[in-house]
């Protein structure tokens, strides 16, 4: 269980378990595990995937994000994020992450916050784990 949690948190790799990686009798499970972990490995450290093609630039995530409004108080009132300290902003009609490390989900704190995903109209933001 501990190893599984570490895999999801990206603190360990499949290769860290030699029997799983090298023993042919686990090959089916290995394939399945790689499929399961693929979205997590392709996501950012926060385990959030942002699809810019789907984003419509509504700014819901920016205004709803509790961390962003602390970093950039005018955005709490719905105004455009202008501070370079902001977590994210809208540029050219699409969301742009400025400081991923300031997200509550960023390691090591990894808070289970998914407000941005809840308020996203278009499904552009997905929390993968």
């Amino acid at each position: 269980m501990g190893f599984a949690v570490k895999l999801i948190r990206r603190e360990a790799k499949i290769e860290d378990c030699p029997p799983l990686a090298s023993d042919p009798k686990y090959s089916d499970r290995l394939t399945k595990l790689r499929e399961l972990l693929a979205p997590i490995l392709s996501a950012a450290e926060t385990l959030i995937q942002v699809d810019p093609d789907k984003c419509i630039g509504c700014g819901n995530c920016i205004v709803a994000c509790p961390e962003n409004v602390i970093l950039d108080p005018p955005s709490a009132k719905g105004r455009n994020s202008k501070s370079s300290d902001a977590l994210w902003t809208v540029e050219d009609g699409k969301i742009k992450v400025l400081h991923l490390e300031k997200c509550r989900r960023y390691p090591p704190s990894r808070m289970n916050c998914n407000v941005c995903e809840i308020v996203c109209y278009s499904g552009a933001i997905k929390v993968v784990a």
């Binding site: 455009n80 109209y121 278009s122």
Partner: protein, 408 residues
């Protein structure tokens, strides 16, 4: 060059906090604008009309204006159409031209034109968007999907921002979305009510019944959802009602929704806003109401409301149309459009179907980018647009219409 706090003309919300990078004569980057605003601000150079055309041939703009004025003067029953994408001053000029010619005046169908007279009649309006931001704890979207039309509506004013009273933003508010389909904006709503088409009257009356403790007569599924909605509505201290063009399908439904707003305003604070379809649809309705005390199509010769433009065109009543930055041929039924082919002239920012079939097409400056003016936000607040790109090659729409008015 970076220009800060530009007013975005991508929709009728008129967000005034957008920053743009200008690389004359275009905009290379936007910050804070949604995808609609970004497309409007960055895309105008790609598809704009650059030269005046008469019968498809390039001419001097003065010559085109003379042609247009002469053609209008010789028309028996002209129609002046549009204004929903123009400044308030331009709409006033369009009305003056129509009056001078004894012409018909009409504009695209809009929720603002239907709602404004009803609001005036019933005396319902309520506070503006800033007050909604600060205080509203119950937001209703009726017949509108803001996730498709007014992308920053929820994040800029109605749902997400933390206000003076609604301190926790979305957690301090309840959102209800009532529509005939499951729309994108329902994703942020606690109450998602999918109703039958044209059942607005029954639904509005059912909510009134529930508020008064009576059981509604609706199919059980909808009745259950409305009961939950009404129980939250009873606890609300400020209800903000945003009505979209979906409610236009049933004119009596609009009256029923306003009746609901009137009952709510006796119990708590209540505001009603129309979700204007184009940048100045609300201004078009307001200017018309101020001048004529009606928002219906108007016949200046008979001094009375007239039939809609598409009916007049289909019947062949209208023999010439001046389209004010409005794609009249694309908005009309095919038969009506065919009748008007070659009998249209237009002022236009961008290339369009109307421009392609116009006898005279006059390019104008891009409103809010190259041309200034006052436009009206969905809550009636007049917003001044300031030009930030200089274009000396074309005239502003206001200048063009002033010159036409002088000539006729």
């Amino acid at each position: 060059m970076i220009v800060e706090n530009v007013v975005c003309t991508g929709c009728s919300l008129l967000c005034d906090d957008v920053d743009v990078d200008v690389e004359d004569p275009s905009i290379s980057k936007t910050r804070g604008a949604c995808s609609h605003g970004d497309a409007r601000l960055k895309g105008f150079q790609k598809n704009r009309l650059r030269e005046a055309l008469v019968d498809g041939y390039k001419v001097d703009v003065d010559e085109a204006i003379d042609w247009l004025a002469e053609t209008l003067k010789s028309a028996k029953r002209p129609l002046i159409y549009g204004g929903e994408c123009s400044s308030n001053a331009t709409i006033e000029l369009a009305l003056k031209i129509a009056e001078e010619l004894g012409a018909y005046y009409d504009a695209p169908q809009s929720i603002c034109r239907a709602l404004l007279p009803l609001q005036e009649e019933l005396g319902i309006k309520g506070p503006g968007l800033e007050e909604v931001l600060d205080e509203a704890d119950f937001v209703v979207y009726w017949g509108t999907s803001v996730a498709d039309t007014h992308l920053r509506h929820a994040s800029r004013y109605a749902v997400m921002p933390r206000g003076r009273v609604a301190k926790m933003g979305r957690e301090s508010r309840v959102v209800a979305s009532i529509d005939v389909r499951e729309s994108m904006s329902m994703r942020i709503a606690q109450h998602k009510v999918v109703i039958d088409p044209c059942s607005d009257v029954e639904v509005a009356k059912a909510i009134v019944d529930l508020l008064n403790g009576r059981a509604p007569r609706l199919r059980p599924e909808v009745a259950r959802q409305l009961a939950l909605l009404a129980s939250d509505l009873k606890r609300a201290s400020f209800v903000a009602l945003f009505i979209g063009s979906g409610a236009l399908k049933c004119r009596e439904g609009l009256r029923a929704v306003l009746e609901l707003a009137r009952i709510l305003s006796a119990k708590c604070k209540c505001s009603v806003h129309s979700m204007a379809e184009n940048v100045n649809s609300y201004g078009q309705a307001k200017v018309m109401w101020r001048a004529l005390k009606t928002c219906s199509p108007y016949d200046f010769r008979e001094r009375e409301p007239a039939e809609p433009a598409q009916v007049l065109a289909s019947r062949g009543v209208v023999d010439f149309v001046l389209a004010i930055n409005s794609d009249v041929l694309a908005q009309m039924p095919l038969e009506a459009s065919k009748r008007l082919k070659g009998r249209v002239c237009c002022t236009t920012e961008l290339k369009s179907v109307t421009q392609a079939y116009s006898k005279v097409a006059i390019p104008v400056k891009i409103l809010g980018v190259e041309a200034g003016g006052v436009v009206t936000r969905i809550d009636g607040v007049e917003v001044e647009l300031k030009p930030f790109i200089i274009n000396r090659e074309v005239l502003s729409e206001e200048e063009v219409l002033s010159r036409i008015l002088a000539l006729i």
